[in-house]
Every structure is written in structure tokens, then in C-alpha cells.
């Protein structure tokens, strides 16, 4: 490797504030995701983790504060803008459209049209192509061994639905993949598949943001851990320097992150 390079965050948030009435969900929070890393976000319920990612993706833009993608100021105003810029998100509890089938869900909002006259003038969907790609993407991710890509998503179990949402994000994300508690509704086996999937995505060079309450999962897959507390980034720690119980202690306020020998802000490998 060359001399130490100054690494620029791929996704960056600065001084973000989001208020819901009298509740301050985000209180001048910063955020940094570096290329190629898995950044976990942990924090108590109500700490503002979901608000943080919604502020970044445009699903719920912050009242003040700035969002940068690859160094450029973006400040997405709606989720479509974030998505077009290459950020795919699995939102907490709001994954999919239940009565649409798996393929329709994967391509919702980015449908493929038939080539030529049919697509251009009659806006005709290319069902075959979308089903083919959906099948390929899902089996490539090891998520699907099924015959029926035409099955309505509501006929799937909670875990299977979540899997479809995760697969959609993993399949279409081109710059960043964000997952807000993707394994909360999943069983042990299914969670394991999602974790493997996150590693797969990272191994393909794509940075991942993972919000999770499951500390063993976080310590297993994360490169760095953003600890969110009372609407702010409270610390950034690493699985290699902090134990799970130290992480939980920092998260709940029982430990001051500055008291830890590794400090309160861990930089990614390769950054100075």
C-alpha cells in the first residue's frame, strides 16, 4: 500500500437534527460510513437509530444538517433520490407490499419495460425479464430455492418477507446498503443467512450499515460500531478493541467511552 491515504467517507452526515413535535429524535448527530466497511449502529430503543438512517436516505430528511455521498453534498429530499443515488435500504417494519408477488416487490418503483414500441408507447412491463432477474438475484444470494417467484409476499412467513426485502437491497444497492434491524423478526437459521449475506455484500466491496440489537451478530460482522445515544453519535468502537459488555455499557451510559484505552472514536483501517 502507498503512503497512508486520507480516506473519505462514502456516506457522511453532519450536525443532523430531526424533531417530531417535542421529541428530538436526532440531536446534532454526525455519521460516517467508510468504503468497504460494515458499520453497525447500536443504541437503546428510541435512541434515534431509525431516524438517523431515514435522515441519510431521504425517507425523513433532517430539519437541519447535511448529508454527503462520496464527498458531494446530497441532502436527499425523498427516498427515491437516495435510491437513485445507489443507496438501498431495508426499513424497519416497512419492508414490502404484501399483496404483490416477489418479483413485483423486487422491482417496485424500478420496473423494466419491454424493448421497442411495446415499452416505449404502451409502457408494457417485461414480466419475463423481471422474473428471470429476480430468480437469478435471489439464488445468487442463496435466498431462494423456490418455484414460485409469483407468490404474493403476504403468503410468506415474516422471516421470508424480510428475506425478500434484504435481497432487494443487496441486489440493487450500488453504493451503500442499509439494513434497519433486518433480523429482528427472524429465527436463528434465517438470521444466520442474513449475516452471511451481509458478509457477501461486504466481500463484493459494498459498504453496509447494520442496525441491530443482537450483540453477537454485531461483534461478528462489524468492522466498526457506531454507538447511538440520546439522538447523538456517542462513540465509535471496534469489536477488536471493545468487548460486548463494554459496548453495552457505553450504549446505556454506564461507561464513559473516553475512559476506554481505545478512545471514543475509532477510525477505519487505512484512514488517518
Amino acid at each position: 500500500m502507498n503512503a497512508v491515504t486520507k480516506l473519505e467517507p462514502i456516506l457522511k452526515g453532519r450536525n443532523m437534527v430531526k424533531r417530531y413535535g417535542r421529541v428530538t429524535a436526532l440531536d446534532h448527530s454526525d455519521f460516517d460510513l467508510y468504503p468497504g466497511e460494515v458499520l453497525a449502529v447500536i443504541g437503546d430503543n428510541g435512541a434515534g437509530k431509525s431516524s438517523l438512517i431515514k435522515a441519510l436516505t431521504g425517507a425523513a430528511p433532517p430539519d437541519i444538517g447535511d448529508v454527503y455521498l462520496a464527498g458531494a453534498l446530497v441532502n436527499f429530499k425523498n427516498p427515491m433520490e437516495g435510491r437513485l443515488a445507489g443507496i438501498e435500504t431495508v426499513y424497519q417494519n416497512l419492508a414490502v407490499s404484501p399483496s404483490l408477488n416477489i418479483a413485483d416487490n423486487l422491482f417496485l418503483g424500478r420496473e423494466l419495460l419491454k424493448p421497442g414500441f411495446l415499452g416505449k408507447w404502451l409502457r408494457m412491463l417485461d414480466h419475463q425479464k423481471m422474473e428471470q432477474i429476480a430468480r437469478d438475484k435471489l439464488s445468487e444470494l442463496g435466498l431462494l430455492t423456490i418455484q414460485s417467484i409469483n407468490q404474493a409476499v403476504e403468503t410468506l412467513s415474516g422471516g421470508q418477507r424480510q428475506a425478500v426485502a434484504v435481497a432487494r437491497a443487496a441486489a440493487f444497492g450500488s453504493k451503500v446498503v442499509i439494513m434497519d434491524e433486518p433480523t429482528a423478526a427472524l429465527g436463528v437459521k434465517e438470521s444466520r443467512r442474513v449475516l452471511d449475506l451481509i458478509k457477501d455484500v461486504r466481500n463484493r466491496g459494498m459498504p453496509v450499515v447494520l442496525i441491530s440489537h443482537n450483540m453477537p451478530h454485531v461483534w461478528e460482522v462489524a468492522d466498526r460500531i457506531h454507538v447511538h445515544r440520546l439522538g447523538k453519535r456517542h462513540a465509535v468502537i471496534k469489536p477488536s478493541t471493545h468487548t460486548m459488555s463494554e459496548g453495552v455499557a457505553i450504549m446505556t451510559g454506564a461507561m464513559d467511552p473516553n475512559d476506554h484505552p481505545a478512545g471514543a472514536y475509532a477510525l477505519p483501517a487505512g484512514a488517518m
Binding site: 425523498n78 404483490l100 417496485l108 404502451l122 412491463l125 435466498l143 430455492t145 418455484q147 404474493a152 421470508q160
Partner: protein, 350 residues
């Protein structure tokens, strides 16, 4: 924090997230699921049973091609308004103003052509435009002011109907005058015999309208967005769909279809009457609900509405042929709606 089961978690690696093995399910649940996946199965079954029933009590006269084509003519207006209503109900809304939009548009067509003496083509265009404007007003109130569709369209129903009485001066435009000055407005009433059956251009237009809407709903991105918006608007928004735009477009298209039905109405009754088509609101909702489209949005098929309209038509026609009093027609239609809604509730629990 489940820190202690880490090893267990790691050990159980592998296995697929989405393996879709069939489970052991009861006949009831299986029926529920089947209806869930094929929403038109139930209305199709009801239609078959109704036809069989009336054939049994009335005999060959009922299945006579002429009588069957009459049923089609009788449901043309309900069917068209039903297409508009299906679209709105798919978005988890309801449009109580469809009947009033239709009458208002027919009056606009009639008055501009006959009283103002404009060319019939222009009058027709103005009528269709009036439908679009009415729909846009509904859509604006519902998306921009976020008023509930039920109350909004109850209000606009009253407003459109009042405008209709005002503009028509509560007068009927006679069929002879239309035939003489603007025969284009009666185009939908042109009839022809084919294999002993009698068809009108209106009936053929009904079928074309259903085909077109089937295509739009199932084979264009817009159709998928209509379903997604009715299904779970928040999920649709997060998927990048502008649900307000979708809703607005749905109410405008519904308004234009009502105007198209107005043209057909003139063809069917020959004249333009501010009192025509009064029953269209309830009949259209009946057709949609019997057709298996869920009042909760996001679920249903346009073909179901055609079948639903035919069920209504078969009941009315069959009971009339059997010499049953009109009040029992109303009674049985009411019963059908309630059963259809109950089935919808039951299916939703699948």
C-alpha cells in the same frame, strides 16, 4: 442481549432463509388461500351457480342468446362505472360521486351540443373534460387536503349533482333532438344482431374498456403502483413511488371513465336526463365488491368487476323473468353484497 447463544447461532449456519415447504393445512385454510390467490374464483363460481339456478327455474328462455345479450346491455353502465370504482377501491378509497359525475357529464355533452349548438365532437370532448375535472377535484381534496375519500366524495356527489340540476335547468333533452342535431352522442346505442344475440356499440365498448384497464393494471408500471399504493402506502413511498401522484391519477382516470359512461348512457336511453343513472353509485360498488376486490385496497382484479356486474345483471334479469317482485331483486342484491364483504374479511385473515 443474547450473548450466550452465540455459539449456537454460529453452529446452525446454512439452511435457506426462504424455503417454501408446503405446510399441513385444513380444507378451510386451503380454500381461504386459494381465494386469496385467485380473487376472481369466488365471483366466477357465484355467476355459474346463478346461471344454473335461473336456468333450472326458468328454463331455455333464460339461456336464450337474445336474453343473455340483454343482460350484457343491462350491465353496460354498471360495468363501466364499476371499472372506475374498482380503480379507486384498489387504492383503499371509495368514490361515491361516480353516478353524479356521469349525469353531469351527460348533461354537459347534451347542453353544449343541443342548446349551445356546438359540434358533437367538441361537445363530447367537453363532456370528457368535465369528467377529468370532477375527478381532479376529488383527487385534489383527497391528496392535498388529505380528506378521507368517503366524506370527500359524499360531498362532491352532492355538489356535482346540484351543478347537474343547475346546468340542465332540470330539463330533459329529447332523443329526437339529439338524433337530429348530434347523432354522435347516440353512437353507443347503435345495435346489431349477431347469431341471434343483440349487441350495442356500448356493450363492445364495455368489453374494450375492461380489456384496456386489465392491461393498464397488470402490464404497466402505473398499474403496479396503484396496487402498491392501496396495499401499504408507506411501503410504496419507501420504494420510491409518489403515492399522491398515483392517487390523483386514479381519481382523474375514474372521472374520465364516468364521462365515457355518460356517453354510453345517452346511447342507451337516447335522451339526456338530469335524473338518469341514479342507482349507478351503489350498483357499481356492488359489482366491485361481489367481484372480489377488497374494500381495504391493494387486492382484487378488474375481471372480477365484470363478473360482479354480470352477477347483478343475472339476478335482476332472472328474478324479473321468473316474475318475482322488484323488491326481492333489491333484497337479493343486498344479501349478495353482505356475503361478498364477509368473504372479503375472511380472506383477508389468511
Amino acid at each position: 442481549m443474547a450473548t450466550d447463544n452465540f455459539e449456537a447461532v454460529a453452529a446452525s449456519a446454512g439452511g435457506s432463509v426462504a424455503s417454501f415447504e408446503p405446510e399441513n393445512v385444513s380444507l378451510g385454510e386451503r380454500t381461504q388461500r386459494f381465494l386469496h390467490n385467485y380473487p376472481t374464483a369466488a365471483p366466477a363460481f357465484v355467476l355459474l351457480m346463478a346461471v344454473a339456478f335461473f336456468y333450472a327455474i326458468i328454463g331455455g328462455k333464460f339461456l336464450d342468446p337474445f336474453n343473455l345479450s340483454l343482460v350484457f346491455q343491462q350491465v353496460t353502465i354498471i360495468g363501466m362505472i364499476g371499472v372506475a370504482q374498482t380503480l379507486v377501491i384498489l387504492t383503499a378509497g371509495i368514490d361515491l360521486s361516480v353516478g353524479a359525475i356521469m349525469v353531469l357529464c351527460s348533461v354537459v355533452m347534451g347542453r353544449t351540443a343541443i342548446t349551445l349548438g356546438l359540434p358533437a365532437e367538441l361537445a363530447l370532448m367537453l363532456g370528457l373534460l368535465a369528467g377529468a375535472v370532477c375527478g381532479a377535484i376529488n383527487g385534489f381534496l383527497i391528496t392535498r387536503l388529505r380528506l378521507p375519500p368517503f366524506i370527500t366524495t359524499l360531498g362532491t356527489w352532492s355538489i356535482f349533482f346540484a351543478l347537474n340540476l343547475w346546468y340542465s335547468e332540470s330539463e330533459t333533452i329529447r332523443s329526437q333532438d339529439i338524433a337530429a342535431q348530434a347523432p354522435l352522442l347516440q353512437f353507443m346505442g347503435i345495435s346489431f344482431e349477431f347469431l341471434g344475440a343483440r349487441f350495442t356499440t356500448g356493450t363492445l365498448s364495455l368489453l374494450a374498456l375492461f380489456a384496456g384497464m386489465w392491461y393498464a393494471l397488470n402490464h404497466t408500471p402505473w398499474g403496479r403502483h396503484v396496487y402498491a399504493t392501496g396495499d401499504d402506502p408507506q411501503a410504496a413511498q419507501l420504494a420510491g413511488i409518489n403515492t399522491e401522484k398515483v392517487l390523483l391519477s386514479v381519481y382523474i382516470v375514474a372521472g374520465v371513465i364516468c364521462a365515457f359512461a355518460a356517453w354510453t348512457l345517452i346511447g342507451r336511453i337516447g335522451s339526456v336526463s338530469p335524473q338518469a343513472g341514479q342507482s349507478a353509485n351503489l350498483d357499481s360498488i356492488t359489482a366491485v365488491v361481489i367481484g372480489g376486490t377488497s374494500l381495504f385496497g391493494g387486492r382484487g382484479a378488474i375481471v372480477g368487476t365484470l363478473i360482479g356486474a354480470l352477477v347483478v345483471g343475472v339476478f335482476r334479469n332472472g328474478l324479473a323473468l321468473a316474475g318475482v317482485d322488484v323488491l326481492w331483486q333489491e333484497f337479493s342484491i343486498g344479501l349478495l353484497i353482505i356475503v361478498a364483504v364477509a368473504v372479503d374479511q375472511w380472506i383477508r385473515r389468511a
